[in-house]
């Protein structure tokens, strides 16, 4: 049975519009004009237990709005969704006990105190038995390698260190579903890698279901077998990450290293890869050969471009 079911989910916002200038300002006092903006437009998908799904899309595509609807922060204007068999709208405590939402640029811990104090507070909020709490806290401290940091006030930590604390704090109640909204935003490469490996490890240990949004394709490649690409509020692709390249790219990159040390790189159409490779092998003294899909960032760019053209 799927952990997350989303059926024709939509969200429309009413936003005020006003033209430039004093006259428009005065007019807006008596007559306020609004326009409807569709952030999420009839999105449907299901996610099975233990899946790690990458939710991709450019800024304003509707990723965060979808995550907020799944976590109960926003009410859908159309369609329906369920998480762990419960409707997020209305934020039932039973659901909130089993999910977590980590937003990369938001701080939920006590700013002036060491993270350990915030962890204690979370223990009280989520009513975690003392023995379980100590075990989970120590496990998270070890996995995230934050032993020396948990006793420092949050305000004295770097952005990356704070993010690790946020993640630890958000997982103390051992949620079954993790909504990670750009958890690595603004972090250096090393820190990004650590957080990625931690999420993978957590997923493996606890079988948690994860939806991850990120602008860093490395996050997605490292963690997600499946991706859902959303553009202008609509799902434009839902499937394996590898299938994304197959569907949206027409070219492959062939790199050959020659006996004299020189390296040749050519791009060929997907269906001509075999003949291009044969020709390369026949014409040159090749000692090593690799055939690759274009970088995933290029693929995603292509997906967005295609979706834009289709509209």
């Amino acid at each position: 049975m799927p952990v997350i079911e989303v059926d024709e989910l939509s969200k429309t916002f009413k936003v005020p519009v006003r033209e430039q200038g004093l006259r428009a300002s005065v007019r807006s006092l008596v007559r306020r004009e609004t326009r409807e903006v569709t952030a999420v437009d009839a999105v449907s998908f299901t996610i099975e237990p233990g899946e790690v799904v990458g939710f991709l899309g450019p800024n304003g595509a509707g990723k965060t709005t979808t995550l907020k609807m799944l976590s109960g922060l926003l009410h859908p204007t159309g369609g329906k969704c369920s998480v762990l068999g419960l409707e997020p709208k209305g934020r039932p405590a039973e659901l909130l006990q089993q999910i977590t939402l980590v937003m990369g640029n938001r701080n939920q811990l006590q700013w002036d105190l060491p993270a350990l104090d915030s962890f204690e507070l979370n223990r009280a909020i989520y009513r975690i038995p003392r023995a379980d709490f100590v075990e989970r806290r120590d496990e998270l401290i070890e996995l995230l390698d934050i032993g020396e940091l948990v006793t420092k006030p949050i305000r004295n930590l770097s952005l990356g260190e704070r993010m690790k604390m946020e993640i630890a704090g958000a997982l103390l109640h051992q949620p079954k579903v993790l909504f990670l909204d750009e958890p690595t935003i603004g972090l250096d490469i090393t820190m990004q890698r650590r957080i990625r490996s931690f999420v993978a490890d957590y997923n493996e240990r606890h079988g948690a279901t994860v939806i991850l949004t990120s602008h860093y394709m490395a996050d997605v490649q490292a963690l997600c077998k499946r991706v859902i690409v959303i553009h202008h509020g609509r799902v434009v692709f839902d499937g394996d990450l590898s299938a994304l390249s197959d569907r949206f790219t027409t070219q492959r990159t062939i790199t050959a290293r020659l006996a004299d040390g020189e390296e040749i790189t050519i791009r060929s159409l997907r269906e001509e890869t075999a003949s291009a490779t044969s020709k390369l092998l026949a014409d040159y003294d090749v000692v090593d050969l690799t055939i690759e899909d274009p970088p995933i960032d290029d693929v995603i760019e292509q997906v967005f471009a295609d979706a834009h053209e289709a509209q």
Binding site: T65, T100, D112
Partner: protein, 264 residues
């Protein structure tokens, strides 16, 4: 729930201890207001032959020194804080927790008061030495005062929390909050003891929560007050607490729904 309140109160104490100097300056600022009132009323009383409507300079001293404690005890989350909470995303985080966010605020401000109380004692001693208050409460008055200051805290906390929720409908809420505070200033006994006001004005104050947050707890300790009025006062506080909870129960789901449709 007790564990939740204890944990939050502990967090507040730990946080406030980090800012000892800021707290002292805050306390000094806090006593400036009642000292001004005290000096003005004492001067008028002395110029008036020693008392005004039976209140002597020493009675005013008692009133305003107890005032400082009551004021510190009834400080709550300001409604102005909501705008920032919504803007910086703190509120989204609170909504993701399986407990009503008001508990966190109630508990943290309760914990903060423990720190304030420790800082208040030396300042109260200095004020008492300077102004020599006339204060001789009975055991019953002391007991009622203890409950009354917490009653005052809960009325103010829940009322202002509910008031702050207006932010969900309109972001420019300053004028509304200012009107509320002005009403409180006039009708609470904060600027002048209500006993100095006309009978009709005193009757009017019964219909607002403000009197039960300032005047009642102060007079419960300083007197003069009948035993019967002590219990009526506690009863009125309870009634206002229940009213505030009712108000919150009506406004909160609508505010969350509003937030959920607009976003944050």
């Amino acid at each position: 729930m007790i564990t939740l309140y204890t944990a939050n109160a502990r967090i507040a104490v730990q946080t406030q201890i980090q800012y000892r100097a800021a707290n002292y300056f805050y306390m000094i600022g806090m006593i400036a207001e009642p000292v001004v009132y005290l000096v003005v009323w004492s001067t008028i009383a002395n110029a008036n032959g020693g008392s005004i409507d039976g209140l002597t300079a020493k009675d005013f001293a008692a009133y305003y020194i107890v005032w400082t404690l009551v004021r510190n005890m009834n400080i709550v989350l300001t409604p102005f804080a909501w705008e920032e909470r919504i803007k910086d995303g703190t509120f989204s985080g609170q909504l993701m927790k399986p407990v009503h966010p008001i508990h966190e605020d109630l508990a943290q401000f309760m914990g903060w008061k423990l720190v304030v109380l420790v800082l208040w004692i030396p300042l109260a001693i200095v004020l008492a030495l300077l102004f020599k208050p006339s204060l001789s409460p009975t055991m019953l008055q002391c007991a009622v005062f203890f409950f009354a200051i917490w009653g005052a805290y809960f009325i103010r906390a829940i009322m202002q929390w509910s008031l702050g929720l207006i932010t969900f409908w309109t972001t420019r809420v300053g004028a509304i909050f200012e009107a509320y505070y002005l009403s409180e200033l006039l009708l609470s006994g904060r600027v002048f003891p209500l006993v100095l006001t006309p009978h009709w004005f005193q009757t009017l104050t019964w219909f607002f929560p403000f009197r039960w947050c300032f005047s009642f707890p102060i007079v419960a300790l300083t007197g003069p007050i009948e035993n019967r009025d002590l219990f009526i006062g506690l009863g009125m506080q309870l009634a206002w607490i229940l009213f505030s909870i009712g108000l919150l129960a009506i406004v909160w789901p609508r505010a969350v729904r509003r937030f959920s449709s607009v976003g944050g």
